[in-house]
Amino acid sequence: MNITKSYVAKSVERMRPSGIRKFFDLAATMEGVVSLGVGEPDFVTTWSVREAAINSLERGFTSYTANAGLIALRTEIARYMSERFHVEYAPKEEIIVTVGASQALDIAMRAVTDPGDEIIVVEPCFVSYAPLVELAGGRAVTIGTTGETGFKLQPEQLEAAITAKTKAVLLCYPNNPTGTQLEREDLELIADIVRKHDLLVIADEIYAELAYDQPHTSIAALDGMRERTILINGFSKGFAMTGWRLGFTCAPKEISSAMLKIHQYAMMCASTPAQYAAIEALQHGMGDVESMKKDYRRRRNYMVQSFKEIGLDCHLPGGAFYVFPSIQSTGLTSEQFAEQLLLEEKVAVVPGSVFGEGGEGYIRCSYASSMSQLQEAVKRISRFLDKQKGRAI
């Protein structure tokens, strides 16, 4: 019998594919591309960490772990979160090891969203947030931050977006794609509103290790916030372990057990060798994190300063590994800019518009690349801008 209908769910049919895909497809066919489009570290995972995974395989640790992850790893995570970010979580009941921060986001959304619940998503942001909210049956209500405020969420913006249906606010600082960091005093203002309206915060703090000017403040560390926050973190960015797919959630017991239900049915547990590697990373890897961070910080300074010199207005991002310069002076949309830059000068950047409201007029440039690549990229972008000026006259 012929197939007469689409088997794909309406909700999935409605989803738009990620805007990044288009640039990936285009860039992948070209030779000699200098890419500032990569959202992951250029460092390879520290050898001692890789070696720990190899050792675990040699010893035959190839079975499932507890659903929430190896207790030894959760204990290390609890210690790490306490020492680094001054937040206390019980390893047995409040920490779940996940398959990357991405899966952590997914179980967080699904655990708290009832049909029709509104989740506030602060844009520009990582491309999965709104789709994950919708897959969980909620409605993503977006707030667009702007370049004028350095892409910091303004308390009045948050206040204005809250309705009777609002369940949670999804925050990501240090931010992908803007690199913006909210310092303690910024977070206090946000936390006041969250408490006032009795909301939950889902805090994606995957870039927490990569904060360059002030040590990262976790929103869960503020008064009265721990009980209303799901913290999401992981090993991908700070520890240069993207391909291992290992993240974790920290949340009060009730929410954690709800997330664990989903996690045990949908995932069972995170990869065992990766979990052993992560134990090593937390026990002995902090020195390497610091040295990578030092490199990133220098590259950030270099990029911001270089962009200013070639006429691209750029705020100094406090964290992550992205700079988010304005390209409005060229008169191009961010998508036109990115496409022409790729075709003419073979530099891959990501148009700000793919990250949602507030992103138009900006491009995301990752500086997770060697200094020589960054120098070459700046040279090419400068040449591109000169040609643009020539055209405008």
Binding site: F24, V38, E40, S128, N301, Y302, M371
Partner: protein
């Protein structure tokens, strides 16, 4: 000599790659180009920056016969000058590329570079062993250089990351 944070940063950057120019270092650490250039000049003058050189993988050259040996040297220190005098007598030889005073079972670790094994053998038997203070030598020839001064020689690191990712 007390170094400030920026001076240390400049040294760290140059130690990784001596070819960074003052203009780029300036952007990386938030100083002016002139300040960086002046700091580098001062560090050179103070001999904190000792020298700039290039790591060469001579093994890549066809018919290259050069050899390197690491020699453990036991010596008798002298009253008043300790190991310094004999160390100096050794490091003055141009064949000697490094000399370290070591803890442990021997005293000086001497690296010698020569055109051939014979040349090094001659150096050890005629020059080094014959020094008054030298008690004994143990010569180890290097067979292959895997990593030197933090750089891995054999590997060609590829960037396996996908070109654009979220």
């Amino acid at each position: 000599m007390k170094l400030n944070e920026k001076e240390v940063e400049i040294l760290e950057i140059l130690q990784k790659d001596a070819r960074f120019e003052a203009t780029d270092i300036a952007k990386m650490i938030g100083l002016s180009e002139a300040e960086v250039a002046e700091t580098i000049r001062r560090l050179e003058e103070e001999k904190v920056i000792v020298h700039y050189a290039t790591l060469v993988d001579w093994a890549k050259m066809d018919n290259y016969t050069g050899v390197t040996a690491m020699i453990d040297v036991k010596v008798t220190p002298k009253r008043g000058v300790g190991f310094d005098e004999v160390a100096e007598r050794i490091y003055r030889f141009k064949e000697v590329s490094s000399v370290y005073l070591m803890s442990g079972v021997y005293d000086l670790s001497v690296t010698v570079e020569g055109k051939s094994m014979n040349e090094i053998a001659r150096f050890v038997s005629e020059k080094l062993s014959t020094l008054d203070s030298v008690v004994s030598t143990t010569t180890h020839f290097q067979l292959k250089k895997y990593k030197h001064d933090g750089m891995i020689y054999a590997s060609k690191r590829e960037d396996n990351r996908i070109v654009v990712s979220p």
